[in-house]
Each structure stands twice: as C-alpha cells, then as structure tokens.
C-alpha cells in the first residue's frame, strides 16, 4: 500500500510506536497488551481522543450553523429548497477519501486541520438541512393558526413555536451527523494527522500492531455510541412532551 499523500505535512504530533518489546508483550497473550494500553493512554490515546472530539465538535457546530441558516431561508422561500438539496446531495456522493485528496490540492488548504474541517462540514450539510427543514415543515397548520390568533409575530412564531416543535427532528439529524462525522474524522487523519485515525492508520501500516488497532478502533466505536446516547438523552430532556412517544 502506498501512502496516499506525499510527505511534508504538519509535524507529527503523536509519536510512532510499536517498539520490539511492545510486540513481545502482545505475543505473550496473542491479542491485546494491557501494559501498552496503560503506558500509552496519557501520551497517545487520550490526546488522540481529545483531538477527535474537538474536530467533530467544530465540524458539527459549523455544519449546524450553515444548515440552520439555509433551512430558515428554505422555510421562508420554498424555491430555495431544491438547489440546496441538489448541491448538498452532490457533496454527499463524493467518496470521502477522494474529497480529502481533492481538497488537499486547493491552494491555502493543503495538509491541515482546515482541510479536514471543510470536508467534514460538507458531509453534515445534507443530513442537517433536511432534518431541520422537515422538522420546521411538520408543525401542524392549526398550531400556526393558534399562534397567529394569539398575536405572535413571525419571529416569535419561529422561536417559540416552530423551532421547539422541530426539535425532535433536528436532534435526530444531529445524531446522524455526529456519528457519521466521528467516523469520517478517523479518515481525516490522513490530511490533518489528528484524532483516533492516526493511531489506527499507524498500527495498520506498522505491521498491524493489534493492541493499538483494538484500542484506537474501540475508542472510536465507544465515542460514537456515547455521543449517540448523549444526544438521545439531550432530546429527552429538551422535549418532555414527546417522552410518552417513542424517542
């Protein structure tokens, strides 16, 4: 396997590993070396996990802001919906590896965190935009009539009626966007050398160091499942009226 990108990226933040005595430890039990895990938690795995979380939070936050703005525009002007759907669907169909490589060639991006974030944000747009808009549109007409009858302005109606009622759909979108960004961020390690993808890719190229593969891969899975559970919990807290129905 050839390295996908030429050398000359940012300085390696996470040290390379897999020295002979570590392999000896793994050979002793065949699969997982707990000693290596403990020894490298503070210097390798924890920083990678933290970087991963930051990477995902930034991407989802920016993606959410853009999608929310687009959805509000499309909510008001119906004609804006289709072009946004076309564009974001187009972005979505680009295989992630190809998008990363394409963006690396863009002047000013190169091998950097910015490149990773641009790609990750691009992939959140379709899901978030569709879910926010679906949520806003699903508010029953009677509810609108009642709000209008109460004398609410358009702005009040949006903030106090439409958005709260759209919350379950919005959070459902955030769940999908977050877990898929966590997954894509492991691949983004190719361009920014950050996050859990770094130890994973390292361990694969380094004659498959099993302990590291299991530890870093396991952390990525746990992070995704935990983030999903956290968002479900948030939704239950924010929408007490929906608790009787299935979340």
């Amino acid at each position: 396997m050839n390295p996908p990108f030429a050398a000359g990226g940012p300085p390696v933040i996470i040290p390379t590993f897999g020295s002979p005595h570590q392999y000896a430890c793994e050979r002793a039990n065949g699969l997982f070396c707990l000693g290596w895990f403990k020894q490298n938690w503070g210097s390798v795995l924890w920083p990678a996990l933290r970087q991963h979380v930051v990477l995902v939070l930034i991407a989802v936050a920016i993606g959410f802001a853009i999608s929310m703005a687009l959805a509000l525009i499309a909510h008001r002007y119906r004609r804006a919906e289709q072009p946004v759907i076309w564009f974001t669907s187009f972005l979505y169909t680009i295989p992630s590896l190809a998008l990363f490589e394409l963006l690396v060639g863009v002047p000013g991006l190169g091998l950097s965190s910015a490149t990773a974030e641009v790609a990750l944000v691009a992939y959140t747009l379709l899901i978030l935009f569709r879910n926010i808009l679906t949520g806003l549109r699903s508010v029953p007409a009677e509810v609108h009539d009642a709000a209008e009858g109460m004398g609410m302005s358009r702005r009040q109606m949006l903030l106090r009626v439409d958005l709260p009622l759209a919350l379950p759909a919005i959070i459902a979108g955030l769940r999908i966007a977050t877990v898929s960004t966590i997954a894509l961020a492991t691949i983004a390690a190719l361009v920014n050398n950050e996050g859990l993808g770094v130890p994973i890719l390292n361990a694969i190229s380094d004659s498959t160091f099993k302990t590291e593969l299991i530890a870093a891969g396991g952390l990525a899975v746990l992070l995704a499942v935990a983030a999903d559970a956290l968002l479900v919990g948030t939704q239950r807290l924010l929408t007490p009226w929906a608790r009787t129905r299935a979340a």
Partner: protein
C-alpha cells in the same frame, strides 16, 4: 476544471497511466468493488432478513432490533475494519466481515419495523382464513413490508459500496479504493475518475434496487413513485465513509 476533464480521460483509457502500461485496469477494480459488494450483501441478507422478519412476525425483541440499528449506524467503518485486522489479519476475509457487520443492523431494523407495523387486523383476517404463521408471513406481512424492508437493503448496499473504498486503507487492494488511496501513482485525475466510477456505481445499484422493489411490491400497492435518489443516498455517509 482540468482535473475533471483528465478524470474522464482516465476513465476513457480504462485506468491506464500514460508511460506506465502495466497498471491494473479500471474495469478490474470496478468489477472487484461490485463483486465484494454483492458477496457481502448476499451474506448480510441471508443473516439479517430471516432474523428481522421473524422478530417482527412475533412482535418480540423490539428493543434489540431498534437499538441494533442505532448502534450499527454509529459504528465507524475504519474502526470496524481496524479491529477486524487485529483478529482476522489483512485481506478479503476481514473486509467481508466488516462489511457484513456494517450491513446487517440496518437490514434487521428495517425488516423488523416493516413486518411489525403491518395492520394487526389484516393478520387476524389471514389467520381467520386458516393461514399458518409461515403463510401469514410470506403472503401478507412480507408484501406489505416491502417498502421499509427494501429501504433498509438500499441503505445497507450504499454503506457497503462506500466502505469498500475505505477498505483500501487497511491494505485491501481489489477495489476502486485502491486507486483513490494511491494518488502518488494515479494522480488527482485518477482519484477523481475512480470517485466518479464509485458514485456512478452507487446510483446504478440504487436504480436496480428501486426496480427490484417495484417488482416485489404487489401490483395494487404500486403507486407511481418517483425514484427519490437523494433520499436513499443519505445512507452513503451515515455509517461513515
């Protein structure tokens, strides 16, 4: 823009790089992608459809069936492939196992929900006509579950196709991911060409499955549905790739 023109030239040359005549052809990699997708989907369907439909038929195990879908959706494909490498080593076996692990949850969940949500009155009527459990499942519940069931199959297929490109990162070299992952040899035009092939293949398979769904749906239930491509393509990145 020049890159895109070169990408189509690359496709036109069947993946040959000028001056390097010994490269494996684009058609070979495309067929490899298709082959592993079909094998992985065949295994996943054989495992997931009976389980999902049977649980739905019994109206049991909703917690497991629904949450399996949620957890499955959260699994990062590179992480699954990486953990698989630790247990199975690099190669076809590991990639197949990872693809099946990623494809099974959405199929089970959708098959379960599809069968489970069939109108109980219809099932009662079928039983009143003297149908056995298996007959009810095959002749009443299954036809009515087709739309949801096929939605799961379509989502899973797209996960599988997109994950085959990620598999190249773990050293599996018989798919289009090999080109996408090797910019040094194929240049950006080759990477884009392979990406276009993957996207085209995803859309083509999507169309085939839409036709399959239409054929499986009983005639009276068929409506003049449009093929909602963007809807289904949502699945492409959901599990990560």
């Amino acid at each position: 823009m020049q890159h895109f023109i070169d990408a189509f030239k690359f496709i036109g040359r069947n993946g040959e790089i000028p001056g390097q005549p010994h490269f494996t052809t684009l058609a070979y990699y495309s067929l490899g992608t298709l082959k592993i997708t079909v094998i992985a989907m065949a295994i996943s369907l054989a495992i997931a459809l009976p389980i999902g439909m049977w649980l739905g038929h019994l109206h049991r195990g909703s917690f497991v069936a629904i949450n399996l879908g949620n957890i499955g959706r959260a699994l990062p494909s590179l992480a699954v492939l990486a953990i698989g490498v630790a247990f199975l080593g690099i190669g076809l076996k590991n990639v197949l196992v990872a693809l099946v692990v990623l494809a099974v949850p959405p199929i089970i969940t959708n098959a379960y929900v599809g069968v489970e949500q069939v109108d109980p009155d219809l099932v009662d009527a079928a039983r009143g006509m003297g149908m056995t459990g298996l007959q009810v499942l095959r002749r009443v519940e299954l036809p009515l579950a087709v739309p949801l069931l096929m939605a799961g199959v379509r989502t899973a297929t797209l996960f599988v196709i997109s994950t085959t490109t990620i598999a190249a990162l773990t050293g599996y070299s018989d798919s289009l991911g090999e080109i996408i992952n090797d910019e040094a040899s194929y240049h950006l035009s080759g990477v884009l060409g392979a990406a276009i092939c993957i996207a085209a293949m995803a859309i083509l398979i999507e169309l085939v499955l839409a036709v399959v769904q239409r054929v499986m749906t009983p005639a009276p239930l068929r409506r003049a549905e449009t093929l909602a491509l963007p809807d289904e393509l949502i699945g492409l990145k959901t599990m990560a790739a």
